[in-house]
Protein backbone atom coordinates (compact mmCIF):
# COMPACT_ATOMS: atom_id res chain seq x y z
CA UNK A 1 0.00 0.00 0.00
CA UNK A 2 2.89 2.32 0.77
CA UNK A 3 4.24 1.61 -2.68
CA UNK A 4 0.89 2.41 -4.17
CA UNK A 5 0.90 5.91 -2.62
CA UNK A 6 4.50 6.54 -3.64
CA UNK A 7 3.72 5.46 -7.19
CA UNK A 8 0.66 7.67 -7.25
CA UNK A 9 2.53 10.77 -6.05
CA UNK A 10 5.40 10.25 -8.51
CA UNK A 11 2.94 9.55 -11.32
CA UNK A 12 1.07 12.77 -10.54
CA UNK A 13 4.31 14.75 -10.56
CA UNK A 14 5.34 13.22 -13.86
CA UNK A 15 2.02 13.90 -15.55
CA UNK A 16 2.10 17.50 -14.23
CA UNK A 17 5.40 18.03 -16.03
CA UNK A 18 3.83 17.11 -19.36
CA UNK A 19 0.43 18.67 -18.70
CA UNK A 20 1.70 22.15 -17.85
CA UNK A 21 3.86 22.50 -20.93
CA UNK A 22 4.17 26.29 -20.82
CA UNK A 23 5.38 26.63 -17.26
CA UNK A 24 7.53 23.52 -17.59
CA UNK A 25 9.12 25.11 -20.66
CA UNK A 26 9.68 28.40 -18.87
CA UNK A 27 11.22 26.64 -15.87
CA UNK A 28 13.42 24.54 -18.13
CA UNK A 29 14.77 27.50 -20.09
CA UNK A 30 15.49 29.57 -17.01
CA UNK A 31 17.04 26.68 -15.15
CA UNK A 32 19.17 25.68 -18.15
CA UNK A 33 20.39 29.26 -18.51
CA UNK A 34 21.46 29.45 -14.86
CA UNK A 35 22.98 26.01 -14.98
CA UNK A 36 25.00 26.82 -18.08
CA UNK A 37 26.41 29.93 -16.45
CA UNK A 38 26.98 27.81 -13.39
CA UNK A 39 28.79 25.26 -15.57
CA UNK A 40 31.07 27.91 -17.04
CA UNK A 41 32.23 28.88 -13.58
CA UNK A 42 32.43 25.29 -12.42
CA UNK A 43 34.69 24.39 -15.33
CA UNK A 44 36.73 27.55 -14.85
CA UNK A 45 37.22 26.52 -11.22
CA UNK A 46 38.20 22.98 -12.19
CA UNK A 47 40.76 24.30 -14.66
CA UNK A 48 42.22 26.73 -12.18
CA UNK A 49 42.54 23.87 -9.71
CA UNK A 50 44.21 21.76 -12.35
CA UNK A 51 46.53 24.63 -13.21
CA UNK A 52 47.51 25.21 -9.59
CA UNK A 53 48.15 21.51 -8.97
CA UNK A 54 50.31 21.40 -12.06
CA UNK A 55 52.29 24.41 -11.02
CA UNK A 56 52.70 23.18 -7.49
CA UNK A 57 54.02 19.86 -8.66
CA UNK A 58 56.51 21.74 -10.79
CA UNK A 59 57.66 24.12 -8.14
CA UNK A 60 61.41 24.02 -7.90
CA UNK A 61 64.33 25.04 -10.04
CA UNK A 62 66.88 23.79 -12.47
CA UNK A 63 70.50 23.72 -11.27
CA UNK A 64 73.15 23.71 -13.97
CA UNK A 65 76.57 22.22 -13.50
CA UNK A 66 79.79 23.57 -14.99
CA UNK A 67 80.41 22.25 -18.53
CA UNK A 68 83.75 20.71 -17.66
CA UNK A 69 82.55 18.72 -14.65
CA UNK A 70 83.34 14.98 -14.86
CA UNK A 71 80.70 12.29 -14.61
CA UNK A 72 81.76 11.52 -10.99
CA UNK A 73 81.57 15.18 -10.06
CA UNK A 74 78.11 15.37 -11.52
CA UNK A 75 77.08 12.30 -9.56
CA UNK A 76 78.42 13.80 -6.33
CA UNK A 77 76.74 17.10 -7.10
CA UNK A 78 73.38 15.31 -7.26
CA UNK A 79 74.00 13.48 -4.00
CA UNK A 80 74.93 16.74 -2.28
CA UNK A 81 71.68 18.31 -3.45
CA UNK A 82 69.60 15.39 -2.21
CA UNK A 83 71.25 15.70 1.22
CA UNK A 84 69.85 19.20 1.70
CA UNK A 85 66.82 19.26 3.93
CA UNK A 86 63.59 20.21 2.17
CA UNK A 87 64.59 18.81 -1.23
CA UNK A 88 62.08 16.22 -2.36
CA UNK A 89 63.66 15.06 -5.63
CA UNK A 90 66.57 15.96 -7.81
CA UNK A 91 66.25 14.52 -11.27
CA UNK A 92 69.31 14.34 -13.45
CA UNK A 93 69.01 15.85 -16.89
CA UNK A 94 71.93 14.84 -19.12
CA UNK A 95 73.30 17.00 -21.92
CA UNK A 96 71.45 14.83 -24.45
CA UNK A 97 68.17 15.17 -22.54
CA UNK A 98 68.63 18.91 -22.57
CA UNK A 99 69.12 18.91 -26.32
CA UNK A 100 66.05 16.77 -26.86
CA UNK A 101 63.95 19.12 -24.75
CA UNK A 102 65.16 22.03 -26.84
CA UNK A 103 64.35 20.16 -30.04
CA UNK A 104 60.87 19.38 -28.76
CA UNK A 105 60.20 22.99 -27.93
CA UNK A 106 61.29 24.17 -31.31
CA UNK A 107 59.33 21.43 -33.07
CA UNK A 108 59.20 22.55 -36.70
CA UNK A 109 62.28 24.68 -36.45
CA UNK A 110 64.44 22.00 -34.90
CA UNK A 111 66.60 22.00 -38.03
CA UNK A 112 68.65 24.84 -36.56
CA UNK A 113 69.98 22.41 -34.01
CA UNK A 114 71.40 20.08 -36.65
CA UNK A 115 75.10 19.58 -36.07
CA UNK A 116 74.83 21.20 -32.67
CA UNK A 117 77.59 19.99 -30.38
CA UNK A 118 75.99 18.46 -27.35
CA UNK A 119 79.15 19.05 -25.35
CA UNK A 120 78.59 22.80 -25.05
CA UNK A 121 75.40 22.20 -23.12
CA UNK A 122 75.43 22.00 -19.36
CA UNK A 123 74.08 18.98 -17.52
CA UNK A 124 71.56 19.89 -14.87
CA UNK A 125 69.41 18.68 -12.00
CA UNK A 126 65.70 19.43 -11.82
CA UNK A 127 65.24 20.05 -8.10
CA UNK A 128 61.80 19.83 -6.55
CA UNK A 129 61.20 21.00 -3.02
CA UNK A 130 58.57 20.29 -0.40
CA UNK A 131 57.77 23.84 0.50
CA UNK A 132 58.00 26.83 -1.73
CA UNK A 133 58.89 29.07 1.21
CA UNK A 134 62.21 27.27 1.79
CA UNK A 135 63.23 27.90 -1.82
CA UNK A 136 65.62 30.81 -1.20
CA UNK A 137 67.41 29.08 1.65
CA UNK A 138 67.87 25.84 -0.31
CA UNK A 139 69.17 27.73 -3.32
CA UNK A 140 71.76 29.41 -1.08
CA UNK A 141 73.03 26.01 0.01
CA UNK A 142 73.18 24.67 -3.53
CA UNK A 143 75.25 27.64 -4.67
CA UNK A 144 77.99 26.54 -2.26
CA UNK A 145 78.41 23.09 -3.84
CA UNK A 146 81.50 22.58 -6.09
CA UNK A 147 81.00 22.80 -9.84
CA UNK A 148 77.88 24.92 -9.46
CA UNK A 149 77.17 26.99 -12.58
CA UNK A 150 73.75 28.64 -12.29
CA UNK A 151 70.16 28.32 -11.14
CA UNK A 152 67.13 29.11 -13.21
CA UNK A 153 64.04 29.54 -11.14
CA UNK A 154 60.54 30.71 -11.71
CA UNK A 155 59.64 30.96 -8.03
CA UNK A 156 58.29 34.47 -8.06
CA UNK A 157 56.14 33.94 -11.09
CA UNK A 158 54.76 30.73 -9.60
CA UNK A 159 53.97 32.34 -6.26
CA UNK A 160 52.20 35.18 -7.98
CA UNK A 161 50.28 32.75 -10.17
CA UNK A 162 49.19 30.65 -7.18
CA UNK A 163 48.05 33.76 -5.34
CA UNK A 164 46.15 34.87 -8.41
CA UNK A 165 44.59 31.43 -8.87
CA UNK A 166 43.52 31.32 -5.24
CA UNK A 167 41.93 34.73 -5.62
CA UNK A 168 40.06 33.60 -8.71
CA UNK A 169 38.94 30.46 -6.89
CA UNK A 170 37.40 32.48 -4.07
CA UNK A 171 35.62 34.79 -6.51
CA UNK A 172 34.36 31.81 -8.53
CA UNK A 173 33.09 30.15 -5.34
CA UNK A 174 31.21 33.31 -4.38
CA UNK A 175 29.68 33.56 -7.85
CA UNK A 176 28.64 29.89 -7.72
CA UNK A 177 26.93 30.41 -4.37
CA UNK A 178 25.17 33.50 -5.69
CA UNK A 179 24.03 31.57 -8.77
CA UNK A 180 22.57 28.79 -6.62
CA UNK A 181 20.61 31.31 -4.56
CA UNK A 182 19.41 33.10 -7.69
CA UNK A 183 18.29 29.87 -9.34
CA UNK A 184 16.37 28.74 -6.25
CA UNK A 185 14.65 32.12 -6.27
CA UNK A 186 13.85 31.95 -9.99
CA UNK A 187 12.67 28.36 -9.88
CA UNK A 188 10.49 28.98 -6.85
CA UNK A 189 8.92 31.89 -8.71
CA UNK A 190 8.27 29.86 -11.83
CA UNK A 191 6.77 27.03 -9.83
CA UNK A 192 4.77 29.62 -7.91
CA UNK A 193 3.14 30.50 -11.22
CA UNK A 194 2.17 26.86 -11.73
CA UNK A 195 0.94 26.58 -8.18
CA UNK A 196 -0.97 29.83 -8.48
CA UNK A 197 -2.62 28.64 -11.67
CA UNK A 198 -3.66 25.54 -9.78
CA UNK A 199 -4.59 27.10 -6.45
CA UNK A 200 -8.19 26.06 -7.03
CA UNK A 201 -7.11 22.48 -7.44
CA UNK A 202 -5.07 22.72 -4.25
CA UNK A 203 -8.02 24.11 -2.32
CA UNK A 204 -10.15 21.22 -3.60
CA UNK A 205 -7.55 18.78 -2.36
CA UNK A 206 -7.65 20.46 1.01
CA UNK A 207 -11.44 20.22 1.22
CA UNK A 208 -11.38 16.56 0.32
CA UNK A 209 -9.06 16.08 3.28
CA UNK A 210 -5.64 15.79 1.65
CA UNK A 211 -2.71 16.30 3.98
CA UNK A 212 -0.17 18.97 3.10
CA UNK A 213 2.40 16.34 2.19
CA UNK A 214 -0.01 14.61 -0.16
CA UNK A 215 -0.52 17.91 -1.99
CA UNK A 216 3.10 18.98 -1.82
CA UNK A 217 4.85 15.87 -3.11
CA UNK A 218 3.61 15.87 -6.72
CA UNK A 219 4.87 19.47 -7.00
CA UNK A 220 8.19 18.52 -5.47
CA UNK A 221 8.49 15.59 -7.86
CA UNK A 222 7.62 17.99 -10.68
CA UNK A 223 10.37 20.37 -9.57
CA UNK A 224 12.86 17.54 -9.28
CA UNK A 225 12.05 16.21 -12.74
CA UNK A 226 12.40 19.69 -14.26
CA UNK A 227 15.71 20.04 -12.42
CA UNK A 228 16.88 16.70 -13.72
CA UNK A 229 15.95 17.46 -17.33
CA UNK A 230 17.62 20.89 -17.22
CA UNK A 231 20.72 19.30 -15.73
CA UNK A 232 20.90 16.80 -18.57
CA UNK A 233 20.38 19.49 -21.22
CA UNK A 234 22.96 21.78 -19.60
CA UNK A 235 25.56 19.01 -19.36
CA UNK A 236 25.23 18.28 -23.06
CA UNK A 237 25.38 21.98 -24.02
CA UNK A 238 28.23 22.88 -21.68
CA UNK A 239 30.15 19.75 -22.65
CA UNK A 240 29.81 20.46 -26.37
CA UNK A 241 30.85 24.08 -25.98
CA UNK A 242 33.75 23.19 -23.72
CA UNK A 243 35.11 20.53 -26.04
CA UNK A 244 34.96 22.98 -28.94
CA UNK A 245 36.69 25.75 -27.01
CA UNK A 246 39.27 23.36 -25.57
CA UNK A 247 40.08 22.17 -29.08
CA UNK A 248 40.63 25.73 -30.24
CA UNK A 249 42.69 26.65 -27.19
CA UNK A 250 45.00 23.65 -27.43
CA UNK A 251 46.11 24.97 -30.80
CA UNK A 252 46.42 28.55 -29.60
CA UNK A 253 50.06 29.61 -29.37
CA UNK A 254 49.89 31.41 -26.02
CA UNK A 255 48.68 28.22 -24.29
CA UNK A 256 51.76 26.44 -25.58
CA UNK A 257 53.90 29.31 -24.49
CA UNK A 258 52.87 29.18 -20.85
CA UNK A 259 52.78 25.40 -21.00
CA UNK A 260 49.22 25.27 -19.73
CA UNK A 261 46.83 22.46 -20.52
CA UNK A 262 43.05 22.21 -20.09
CA UNK A 263 41.27 19.52 -18.15
CA UNK A 264 39.52 17.14 -20.52
CA UNK A 265 35.72 17.26 -20.22
CA UNK A 266 35.66 13.50 -19.86
CA UNK A 267 37.76 13.77 -16.71
CA UNK A 268 35.27 16.19 -15.19
CA UNK A 269 32.16 14.48 -16.51
CA UNK A 270 31.42 12.22 -13.57
CA UNK A 271 31.83 14.99 -11.01
CA UNK A 272 29.86 17.41 -13.19
CA UNK A 273 27.00 14.94 -13.56
CA UNK A 274 26.86 14.40 -9.81
CA UNK A 275 27.04 18.11 -9.01
CA UNK A 276 24.48 19.02 -11.68
CA UNK A 277 22.00 16.32 -10.79
CA UNK A 278 22.20 17.04 -7.06
CA UNK A 279 21.93 20.74 -7.75
CA UNK A 280 19.12 20.43 -10.28
CA UNK A 281 17.07 18.09 -8.12
CA UNK A 282 17.84 20.11 -4.99
CA UNK A 283 16.98 23.46 -6.54
CA UNK A 284 13.80 22.03 -8.08
CA UNK A 285 12.63 20.47 -4.84
CA UNK A 286 13.52 23.46 -2.68
CA UNK A 287 11.93 25.84 -5.17
CA UNK A 288 8.69 23.85 -5.01
CA UNK A 289 8.64 23.73 -1.22
CA UNK A 290 9.23 27.47 -0.96
CA UNK A 291 6.62 28.39 -3.55
CA UNK A 292 3.95 26.13 -2.03
CA UNK A 293 4.02 27.45 1.51
CA UNK A 294 1.50 30.22 0.97
CA UNK A 295 -1.02 28.05 -0.84
CA UNK A 296 -1.20 25.31 1.74
CA UNK A 297 -2.81 27.58 4.30
CA UNK A 298 -6.46 26.82 3.53
Amino acid sequence: MKYNILGYLIGEGLSNVFKNKKSTGASLIIMCATMIIFGVFLILGENINHFVTNIKSEQGFQVFIKVDATQEEIQKFGEDIRKIEGVSTAEYISKEDGLNTMKKRLKDDKGVLNGFNVEVLKASYMVKIDNLEQSQQIQEQIRKIDNFAKITSSDETITTLIHLANGIKIVTGAILLLLIIISIFIISNTIKLTVHARRKEISIMKYVGATNNFIRWPFIVEGMIIGMISSAISIVLVGGAYNFIAQELVNASFMKLIGMSLVGFGDMLSSIIVVYMLLGIGIGALGSVISMRKYLKV
Binding site: M1, N4, I5, Y8, K19, K200, E201, S203, I204, M205, K206, Y207, V208, G209, A210, T211, N212, F214, V298
Partner: protein, 228 residues
Protein backbone atom coordinates in the same frame (compact mmCIF):
# COMPACT_ATOMS: atom_id res chain seq x y z
CA UNK B 1 -23.16 15.66 15.23
CA UNK B 2 -22.35 19.37 14.99
CA UNK B 3 -22.61 21.59 18.02
CA UNK B 4 -21.99 25.36 18.22
CA UNK B 5 -21.50 26.80 21.72
CA UNK B 6 -21.53 30.60 22.03
CA UNK B 7 -19.62 30.97 18.77
CA UNK B 8 -18.53 34.44 17.71
CA UNK B 9 -16.67 35.24 14.55
CA UNK B 10 -15.26 38.67 13.86
CA UNK B 11 -13.19 39.08 10.70
CA UNK B 12 -10.03 41.17 10.65
CA UNK B 13 -11.96 43.72 8.62
CA UNK B 14 -14.14 44.35 11.67
CA UNK B 15 -17.26 42.60 10.36
CA UNK B 16 -19.18 40.59 12.93
CA UNK B 17 -20.00 37.59 10.76
CA UNK B 18 -21.42 35.31 13.46
CA UNK B 19 -22.80 36.52 16.78
CA UNK B 20 -23.44 34.09 19.61
CA UNK B 21 -24.41 31.05 17.58
CA UNK B 22 -25.81 28.15 19.64
CA UNK B 23 -27.26 25.06 18.00
CA UNK B 24 -26.97 21.30 17.80
CA UNK B 25 -27.44 19.32 14.60
CA UNK B 26 -27.91 15.70 15.66
CA UNK B 27 -26.56 12.66 13.90
CA UNK B 28 -28.77 11.71 10.94
CA UNK B 29 -30.51 15.07 10.85
CA UNK B 30 -31.23 17.16 7.74
CA UNK B 31 -30.86 20.90 8.31
CA UNK B 32 -31.06 23.97 6.09
CA UNK B 33 -29.00 27.06 6.85
CA UNK B 34 -30.91 29.92 5.26
CA UNK B 35 -30.36 33.65 4.99
CA UNK B 36 -29.60 36.29 2.39
CA UNK B 37 -26.16 36.85 0.91
CA UNK B 38 -23.77 38.21 3.51
CA UNK B 39 -25.95 37.03 6.38
CA UNK B 40 -23.20 34.78 7.72
CA UNK B 41 -24.24 31.34 6.49
CA UNK B 42 -21.08 30.86 4.45
CA UNK B 43 -19.07 31.74 7.53
CA UNK B 44 -20.98 29.08 9.47
CA UNK B 45 -20.00 26.53 6.81
CA UNK B 46 -16.38 27.69 6.91
CA UNK B 47 -16.38 27.35 10.69
CA UNK B 48 -17.67 23.78 10.43
CA UNK B 49 -14.96 22.93 7.87
CA UNK B 50 -12.41 24.68 10.09
CA UNK B 51 -11.44 26.87 7.19
CA UNK B 52 -11.99 29.74 9.62
CA UNK B 53 -11.35 29.83 13.35
CA UNK B 54 -14.03 31.17 15.69
CA UNK B 55 -13.05 34.34 17.54
CA UNK B 56 -14.54 32.79 20.66
CA UNK B 57 -16.76 29.87 21.58
CA UNK B 58 -16.48 26.16 20.83
CA UNK B 59 -17.44 24.02 17.86
CA UNK B 60 -17.85 20.33 18.63
CA UNK B 61 -17.91 17.87 15.75
CA UNK B 62 -18.69 14.21 16.36
CA UNK B 63 -18.09 14.74 20.07
CA UNK B 64 -14.69 16.38 19.55
CA UNK B 65 -14.00 20.01 20.36
CA UNK B 66 -12.24 21.30 17.23
CA UNK B 67 -11.14 24.55 18.89
CA UNK B 68 -7.73 23.24 19.83
CA UNK B 69 -7.27 20.93 16.88
CA UNK B 70 -3.71 20.93 15.57
CA UNK B 71 -3.46 22.20 11.96
CA UNK B 72 -1.95 18.87 10.94
CA UNK B 73 -5.13 17.11 12.13
CA UNK B 74 -7.49 19.28 10.05
CA UNK B 75 -7.30 17.00 6.97
CA UNK B 76 -8.50 14.12 9.13
CA UNK B 77 -11.42 16.17 10.47
CA UNK B 78 -12.41 17.00 6.90
CA UNK B 79 -12.41 13.33 5.98
CA UNK B 80 -15.31 12.82 8.36
CA UNK B 81 -17.39 15.21 6.26
CA UNK B 82 -18.15 15.36 2.59
CA UNK B 83 -18.30 18.87 1.10
CA UNK B 84 -20.19 20.17 -1.92
CA UNK B 85 -19.98 23.72 -3.30
CA UNK B 86 -22.03 25.92 -5.57
CA UNK B 87 -19.29 25.89 -8.24
CA UNK B 88 -18.80 22.08 -8.05
CA UNK B 89 -15.00 22.39 -7.75
CA UNK B 90 -14.08 19.37 -9.80
CA UNK B 91 -10.56 18.77 -11.07
CA UNK B 92 -10.90 19.72 -14.76
CA UNK B 93 -8.12 17.47 -16.05
CA UNK B 94 -9.42 14.32 -14.40
CA UNK B 95 -12.27 12.14 -15.61
CA UNK B 96 -15.45 11.67 -13.59
CA UNK B 97 -14.10 8.36 -12.33
CA UNK B 98 -10.74 9.86 -11.33
CA UNK B 99 -12.34 12.84 -9.63
CA UNK B 100 -14.19 10.46 -7.37
CA UNK B 101 -11.29 8.02 -6.98
CA UNK B 102 -9.08 10.95 -6.02
CA UNK B 103 -10.87 11.37 -2.70
CA UNK B 104 -10.12 7.71 -2.01
CA UNK B 105 -6.44 7.98 -2.90
CA UNK B 106 -6.16 10.68 -0.30
CA UNK B 107 -7.41 8.41 2.47
CA UNK B 108 -5.04 5.73 1.16
CA UNK B 109 -7.71 3.28 0.14
CA UNK B 110 -6.49 0.08 -1.49
CA UNK B 111 -6.80 -0.10 -5.29
CA UNK B 112 -9.23 -2.99 -4.86
CA UNK B 113 -11.45 -0.95 -2.58
CA UNK B 114 -11.32 1.97 -5.02
CA UNK B 115 -12.29 -0.24 -7.97
CA UNK B 116 -15.28 -1.52 -6.05
CA UNK B 117 -16.45 1.67 -4.36
CA UNK B 118 -16.23 4.24 -7.19
CA UNK B 119 -18.60 2.49 -9.65
CA UNK B 120 -21.02 1.85 -6.81
CA UNK B 121 -21.19 5.50 -5.78
CA UNK B 122 -21.38 6.64 -9.43
CA UNK B 123 -24.39 4.42 -9.98
CA UNK B 124 -25.97 5.84 -6.83
CA UNK B 125 -25.80 9.38 -8.26
CA UNK B 126 -26.84 8.04 -11.69
CA UNK B 127 -23.62 8.67 -13.59
CA UNK B 128 -22.40 5.14 -14.32
CA UNK B 129 -22.38 5.78 -18.06
CA UNK B 130 -20.34 9.01 -17.78
CA UNK B 131 -17.39 7.70 -15.80
CA UNK B 132 -14.89 8.32 -18.59
CA UNK B 133 -16.04 11.86 -19.40
CA UNK B 134 -14.37 15.06 -18.27
CA UNK B 135 -16.19 17.68 -16.13
CA UNK B 136 -16.46 20.19 -19.00
CA UNK B 137 -18.38 17.60 -21.02
CA UNK B 138 -21.11 17.41 -18.39
CA UNK B 139 -24.11 19.58 -17.59
CA UNK B 140 -24.21 21.56 -14.36
CA UNK B 141 -26.48 19.06 -12.66
CA UNK B 142 -24.23 16.18 -13.68
CA UNK B 143 -21.16 18.01 -12.42
CA UNK B 144 -22.84 18.53 -9.06
CA UNK B 145 -23.62 14.81 -8.98
CA UNK B 146 -19.94 14.08 -9.50
CA UNK B 147 -19.13 16.44 -6.65
CA UNK B 148 -21.69 14.62 -4.51
CA UNK B 149 -20.20 11.26 -5.43
CA UNK B 150 -16.76 12.54 -4.47
CA UNK B 151 -18.09 13.87 -1.18
CA UNK B 152 -19.75 10.56 -0.35
CA UNK B 153 -17.28 8.00 -1.63
CA UNK B 154 -15.48 7.71 1.69
CA UNK B 155 -18.78 7.27 3.55
CA UNK B 156 -18.49 10.40 5.72
CA UNK B 157 -20.78 10.78 8.72
CA UNK B 158 -21.96 14.16 7.48
CA UNK B 159 -22.41 16.03 4.24
CA UNK B 160 -21.96 19.81 4.12
CA UNK B 161 -23.36 21.57 1.06
CA UNK B 162 -22.78 25.29 0.43
CA UNK B 163 -25.40 26.56 -2.06
CA UNK B 164 -25.38 23.22 -3.93
CA UNK B 165 -28.16 24.34 -6.29
CA UNK B 166 -27.05 27.94 -6.77
CA UNK B 167 -25.87 27.37 -10.35
CA UNK B 168 -28.65 24.98 -11.41
CA UNK B 169 -32.05 25.38 -13.03
CA UNK B 170 -35.07 24.61 -10.78
CA UNK B 171 -35.70 21.06 -12.09
CA UNK B 172 -32.07 20.01 -11.78
CA UNK B 173 -31.90 21.71 -8.39
CA UNK B 174 -34.82 19.65 -7.22
CA UNK B 175 -33.13 16.46 -8.47
CA UNK B 176 -30.04 17.28 -6.45
CA UNK B 177 -32.13 18.00 -3.35
CA UNK B 178 -33.94 14.68 -3.76
CA UNK B 179 -30.56 13.00 -3.95
CA UNK B 180 -29.45 14.82 -0.79
CA UNK B 181 -32.61 13.63 0.92
CA UNK B 182 -31.90 10.03 -0.15
CA UNK B 183 -28.41 10.32 1.25
CA UNK B 184 -29.88 11.58 4.50
CA UNK B 185 -32.26 8.60 4.56
CA UNK B 186 -29.21 6.32 4.55
CA UNK B 187 -28.11 7.88 7.81
CA UNK B 188 -25.76 10.68 6.79
CA UNK B 189 -26.17 14.02 8.55
CA UNK B 190 -26.84 16.65 5.87
CA UNK B 191 -26.37 20.39 6.30
CA UNK B 192 -27.36 22.58 3.34
CA UNK B 193 -26.73 26.31 3.16
CA UNK B 194 -29.10 27.81 0.62
CA UNK B 195 -31.39 30.64 -0.31
CA UNK B 196 -33.57 28.53 -2.60
CA UNK B 197 -36.86 29.44 -0.94
CA UNK B 198 -39.14 27.07 -2.86
CA UNK B 199 -36.99 24.05 -2.15
CA UNK B 200 -36.76 24.80 1.57
CA UNK B 201 -40.53 25.30 1.74
CA UNK B 202 -41.18 22.05 -0.11
CA UNK B 203 -38.80 19.85 1.88
CA UNK B 204 -40.24 20.64 5.33
CA UNK B 205 -36.96 20.07 7.11
CA UNK B 206 -35.25 21.83 9.97
CA UNK B 207 -34.43 25.45 9.12
CA UNK B 208 -31.78 27.54 10.86
CA UNK B 209 -32.25 31.15 9.76
CA UNK B 210 -29.33 33.52 10.10
CA UNK B 211 -29.50 37.27 9.58
CA UNK B 212 -26.70 39.78 10.09
CA UNK B 213 -24.73 37.11 11.90
CA UNK B 214 -27.48 36.24 14.37
CA UNK B 215 -29.54 33.07 14.38
CA UNK B 216 -33.04 34.50 14.38
CA UNK B 217 -35.03 31.29 13.99
CA UNK B 218 -34.54 27.54 14.37
CA UNK B 219 -37.65 25.58 13.27
CA UNK B 220 -37.85 21.79 13.43
CA UNK B 221 -40.05 21.56 10.33
CA UNK B 222 -40.03 25.01 8.89
CA UNK B 223 -40.18 26.91 5.65
CA UNK B 224 -37.98 29.69 4.41
CA UNK B 225 -40.03 32.58 5.81
CA UNK B 226 -41.42 33.57 9.17
CA UNK B 227 -45.05 33.39 8.15
CA UNK B 228 -45.10 29.68 7.39
Amino acid sequence: MIEFRKVYKKYDTGTDAVINANFVIEKGEFAFLVGSSGSGKSTLIKLILKEEEPTSGNIIINGKDTTYLKPSRIPFLRRSMGVVFQDFRLLPDKTVYDNVAYAMYIVRATPRHIRRQVPMILSMVGLSNKAKMYPNELSGGEQQRVALARALVNAPSMLIADEPTGNLDPDTAWDIMTLLNEINMRGTTVVVATHAKDIVDKMKKRVIHIQNGKIIRDDKKGGYDYEI
